[in-house]
C-alpha cells in the first residue's frame, strides 16, 4: 500500500504544482495576488471561501513534498533529514561559514510549536524574521540551497506545512518583554 502511496502523491503534487504555477505571477515582487481588475476582484470577494478547503489541502500536500525534497538544497539533504516528520533527528546540523557567520554546529530542534513563536529574533539575520525566512535560513545554511522567494507558492506551501506541524500549539509571540 505504502509503495503505491508515494508515487501517487508525487504525481498529484506535480499536477497541483503545475496548476498553481499558471495562476502565479512571478513578476509581482510583493506576492500580491489581488487582481487589479475590479470586476474580477468583486467576483472573487463575493465567491467567499468556496474552494478554501481544497486549496489549503493542495498547498499542504505540496508543502509536505517540498519538505521531503532534496532538490531544495545541494547536499543531498531535505528538511526532513534533520526534522523527520517535524521532530528532531536528535543530532546536530553543521554548516560552513555563511551569511557572515559560522561555521556552526547546531542541536536540531523539533518543529512542533516552532511556528507559534515566529516572527522572532534569529542570530544569523540579526533581526526579527518570519517563519518563511527561517525556512530559507535552513535551506541556505544547512542544505546549501537557494532561498525561496517569499511571494512564491513554494515558500507559502512550505510554510503552510511547517505551520501545520504546530497544530494545536498555543501561539506565543514575544514582545521582547518576557525573554
Amino acid at each position: 500500500m505504502k509503495r503505491y502511496l508515494i508515487p501517487t502523491a508525487a504525481v498529484a503534487v506535480l499536477l497541483v504544482g503545475c496548476g498553481m504555477h499558471s495562476r502565479y505571477n512571478p513578476g509581482d515582487q510583493y506576492g500580491d495576488r489581488v487582481t487589479t481588475d475590479k470586476k474580477a476582484l468583486a467576483a472573487n470577494l463575493q465567491s467567499g471561501g468556496g474552494s478554501a478547503t481544497a486549496e489549503e489541502a493542495k498547498f499542504l500536500a505540496w508543502g509536505k513534498d517540498l519538505f521531503n525534497n532534496t532538490d531544495l538544497g545541494k547536499n543531498g539533504q531535505s528538511c526532513n533529514s534533520c526534522h523527520p516528520g517535524g521532530a528532531s533527528s536528535g543530532g546536530e546540523a553543521r554548516i560552513p561559514k555563511k551569511m557572515g557567520h559560522g561555521p556552526y554546529a547546531l542541536p536540531i530542534p523539533s518543529l512542533v510549536g516552532a511556528s507559534s513563536r515566529f516572527p522572532k529574533y534569529k542570530v544569523p539575520n540579526g533581526k526579527v524574521i518570519s517563519l518563511q525566512q527561517m525556512d530559507n535560513n535552513c535551506i541556505r545554511m544547512f542544505m546549501n540551497g537557494k532561498r525561496l522567494p517569499l511571494d512564491s507558492p513554494e515558500s507559502i506551501a512550505l510554510a503552510a506545512y511547517v505551520t501545520s506541524l504546530s497544530k494545536g500549539e498555543d501561539i506565543d509571540i514575544s514582545s521582547g518583554s518576557k525573554r
Binding site: V34, K58, V123, S174
Partner: protein, 174 residues
Amino acid sequence: MFGSGLLLVTFSLSACGMMAGMMGMGDKWHAMLNMDEVMDEEGMNVQKIMAKRTEEEQKAFARGRDLFNDVSLGKNGQSCNSCHAGGGASSASAKVVATGMTRQIASLKGAAARYPKYDPASHSVITLKMRDNNCIRLYMDGSPLALDGWDSSSLEQYVKSFSNGSQVAAGSGR
C-alpha cells in the same frame, strides 16, 4: 531561564569540544545556545545574545505597533487600527476602495492562528504578511510592504501577538 541556558551552553561547549577534537576540527565549530541560537567566537556570548534578542523583539514589536496605527501606510486616512482598534473589530464593515463594496470586519484575535490560509480576494493560499498587504491595498489604498523587509515582519509580529494563546489551526480549511 538564564541559568538553564548557561548550563545548556556549558554542556554544548564541552560536547562540541569533544566532537571537534574527535573530528580534528580544532575550534572551527562553535557552541550553541538554547537549542536554536548560536554563539560564535567573535564574542557573542549568552548574555549578549539574550540581551540582543530582547532588544530586537522589543524594537520590532514597537515598530509593528507604530505601523498598525500609521495612516501613512494608506492614502485614505485609515490605519489598521481604524478597523481593528486594539486588535478587535471597530465597526461592522469596511469599504474596498477599488470596488466600493463593503466587507465585514473581523477581529484579529485568533486570526493569525489560521494562516497560511485561503484568501478570497487573492483567490489563493496566502501568508499573514500577504494578508496585511491585502488590507493595506484594499481598504487603505496603500502600497504593499516588501515581504522580506523588517517592516513587514514587525507588523506581522504585532498582528500575530493579538492571537497569543490561540491554538495554531493552519490548514483546517477555515
